[in-house]
């Protein structure tokens, strides 16, 4: 039974695609009007995917890898393959993806009820599931890149779902463009890897850059490249991961992505889009492992992001922005764990963060609505978990803490834990002070939140049973933070630190730098080039002469040659139409005769060519 599931794991991948096609085509041709069919199909695809990947995860032996691939494009010896690559990591990622997306879809049934054309929304969610699952199961870097681009496009579509709103469409465009930097870096890295493999490797299998041969490929690349070139390749991949995971120089796009609908944010910021950076680094760990400096670089980037984004989050006033910065910060912690080669902790924290963060997003109220008590309680529970004091949060954070070796990193980690607890409790107190009200809870939305909470508990039970962790500094730091924040709130003494507050509130002005300075530099370049055109080239005599001669030549060609050609075409079509008139005589015998003649001509020509080819090859001649 389990073997059957493992052998047919592609069903996970195809179910959302089928649902997407069914919804889009069905609505396009107005086959059905009833929306409950859409809901049932969407939820069914997600829950089936979750069950299948869960069973597969349960029955897969720990080090086993199932791989099938076949050539997709073939140019001489250069082959791009596509297929499936099933191992523990991909199944874990798929399981988290489908669990989270199931609850998010359940939530959005209630949330998007009154939206126009919401079938498009559900179809896009399904397509997104398909692309993510395809990326997790892809066997080589080329297919990963293919799905990587698709994820970018579909996230653009999802964020800009209300494309008639100019602010939102602009935000989605910006997200897309910033993501393009990472895509370019990624494809450049792939091309360099492929080039080195193609020129130096004797084994033709390595040129497909399959993940199964990743160890051998990395060793070969390391052996045949100079150190700067190797660093360049690794840096390109790291940049791709940094951009997709919203790390230090590129974390601005996550705030723009906040313009999206609530379910979209919950999906994008937890298990799907930002997970890609972690996933790609997990896949390419054999490459980065060869040079310890690169691993250190990843860890430094991670801890830097965690620090900066925690600071930024501490000064935001809107819960959505706080959550966005906190996503960047938590992903930074994951990068830190990956840099320390603590892969188990990174994956555990990824799962925990996905569940907690999507739950936190789902508790947020709609625009122009106040917080209800139920939602606020759920937000508090999620905040406790996020700051590492409750359930899966505490277990996974302590697991990550085990990768801290030096005193410096222990200190930094404690500070980050403190900041995390501080900003989450600060925003919670702010919400509470603005006043809560009793609202009749929406049953379906509550169900989704409770489901995610249960997933959280299950994860905690698993971690508690199968891993050993002990409560250490981060927990105490977080506890201190909650107490400090509460005291500060009671004394009404949240300071706005003079320099730090505006700096962090605006995200260290990185966004302004991108929008103002870089576009200005680009405009300056354009202006200088324009001036060069108008001032220098026009006064330089040979250029003018060349331009004038060109105009004359084109004029002559137009009058003498082009007109003649047009006339020729006209006459030729006249002749053809006359011929056509004779063909349409309506005489069936004539038609028969033409058919016979044409068949004879074709057969004779084929024979003649065939015989000449044979004679030239020396086969037919005696």
């Amino acid at each position: 039974m389990t073997d059957i599931i493992l052998n047919n794991i592609y069903i996970i991948l195809l179910l959302p695609l089928w649902v997407f096609l069914i919804i889009m085509l069905g609505r396009f041709f107005s086959v059905y009007v009833n929306k409950s069919i859409i809901y049932v199909l969407t939820l069914g695809a997600s829950i089936l995917g979750a069950i299948l990947s869960g069973v597969g995860l349960y029955s897969l032996n720990s080090d086993k890898i199932l791989e099938t691939s076949f050539p997709f494009i073939k140019i001489n010896h250069f082959i791009i393959e596509c297929g499936l690559h099933v191992d523990k990591i991909s199944l874990i990622f798929a399981l988290v993806l489908f669990v989270v997306s199931f609850f998010v879809q359940l939530f959005s049934i209630s949330y998007m009820k009154d939206e126009k054309k919401n079938y498009r929304f559900f179809a896009l969610l399904n397509l997104f599931n398909f692309t993510m699952a395809g990326l997790f199961f892809s066997p080589n870097l080329f297919q990963t890149y293919f799905f990587w681009e698709l994820v970018g496009v579909i996230s653009y579509l999802l964020i800009g779902f209300e494309y008639k709103n100019p602010v939102k469409s602009l935000a989605s465009k910006k997200v897309f463009i910033i993501n393009r930097i990472g895509d370019t870096a990624f494809v450049a890295g792939i091309i360099m890897c492929s080039y080195f493999m193609f020129s130096y490797s004797n084994n033709i299998n390595f040129t497909t850059l399959s993940y199964v041969d990743m160890n051998a490929i990395s060793t070969l690349i390391y052996a045949y490249t100079s150190t700067p070139a190797f660093w360049g390749i690794c840096l390109l991949f790291i940049i791709a991961a940094l951009v997709k995971s919203a790390q230090v120089p590129f974390y601005t796009w996550l705030q723009d992505a906040m313009e999206a609908k609530l379910p979209v944010s919950a999906l994008l910021h937890s298990a799907t889009m930002v997970a890609l950076g972690v996933f790609i680094i997990l896949r390419l760990i054999p490459l980065f492992m060869l040079e310890s400096g690169i691993l250190k670089l990843i860890a430094v980037f991670g801890i830097l992001t965690a620090f900066i984004c925690s600071l930024c989050a501490a000064s935001q006033n809107h819960p959505k922005k706080v959550l966005a910065y906190s996503t960047s910060a938590q992903l930074g912690l994951m990068f830190f764990a990956l840099g320390a080669l603590n892969i188990k902790a990174a994956v555990a924290f990824f799962v925990a963060h996905a569940v907690i963060k999507s739950m936190l997003f789902l508790t947020l109220p709609r625009e122009n609505e106040k917080w209800s008590y139920v939602n606020f309680t759920a937000f508090l529970i999620g905040g406790l978990a996020l700051s590492g004091m409750l359930l899966s949060g505490v277990a996974s954070k302590e697991l990550i803490f085990t990768s801290c070796k030096s005193g410096l990193s222990i200190t930094a980690f404690s500070i980050i834990s403190f900041l995390t607890a501080f900003y989450i409790f600060r925003i919670a107190l702010k919400i509470a002070s603005e006043g809560l009200e009793k609202v009749q809870p929406r049953v379906i939305e509550l169900l989704a939140i409770i489901g995610l909470f249960i997933a959280n508990i299950l994860l905690y039970v698993y971690l508690w049973k199968y891993t050993s962790y002990k409560v250490a500094e981060p927990f105490w730091a977080a506890l201190t933070a909650w107490v400090c924040t509460y005291i500060l709130f009671i004394k009404n003494a949240f300071w706005k630190v003079p320099v730090l507050y505006p700096l962090t509130y605006n995200g260290f002005y990185l966004d302004n730098f991108y929008t103002n300075k870089i576009t200005k530099i680009y405009e300056k370049c354009c202006q200088i080039l324009g001036k060069f055109d108008s001032k220098v080239l026009t006064n330089y005599k040979p250029t003018v002469f060349v331009a004038k001669t060109g105009v004359r030549v084109t004029k002559w060609v137009e009058t003498n040659i082009m007109n003649g050609a047009v006339l020729l075409v006209q006459k030729f079509s006249n002749f053809l139409s006359k011929l056509d008139l004779r063909l349409q005589s309506g005489n069936i015998q004539k038609y028969n005769a033409y058919a016979f003649i044409i068949i004879t001509i074709i057969i004779s020509l084929l024979l003649i060519t065939y015989t000449t080819i044979l004679l030239n090859l020396g086969v037919g001649g005696e």
């Binding site: 005589s585 309506g586 005489n587 069936i588 015998q589 028969n592 005769a593 016979f596």
Partner: protein, 100 residues
Amino acid sequence: MITMYHYLFLGLVLFVIGMIGAVVSRHVIKMLISIEFILTGVNINFITFGTFCDGIKFDGYIMSLFYVAVGAVELAVALYIFYLMYHKNKSENVEDYGDL
């Protein structure tokens, strides 16, 4: 010594003559006869293969039997169409039928 190829050649020639006749002739009945020539040529091919290549089942013979039956049916239908056209145009020349 006559081989299979001779019989096949005979079928081929009959087929081509039928083809030319169907295209060239002006009289409708002549056209129909030419079409029957085509069928006969194909039949000869079938029976040749049945004799030379298949000594157990004789599928070619059975197939040619079907051909004869279907050819007769086709002829009946064609004659009826000819009858209708003749009533309409009062002519047996094919060129008078040429308005689609």
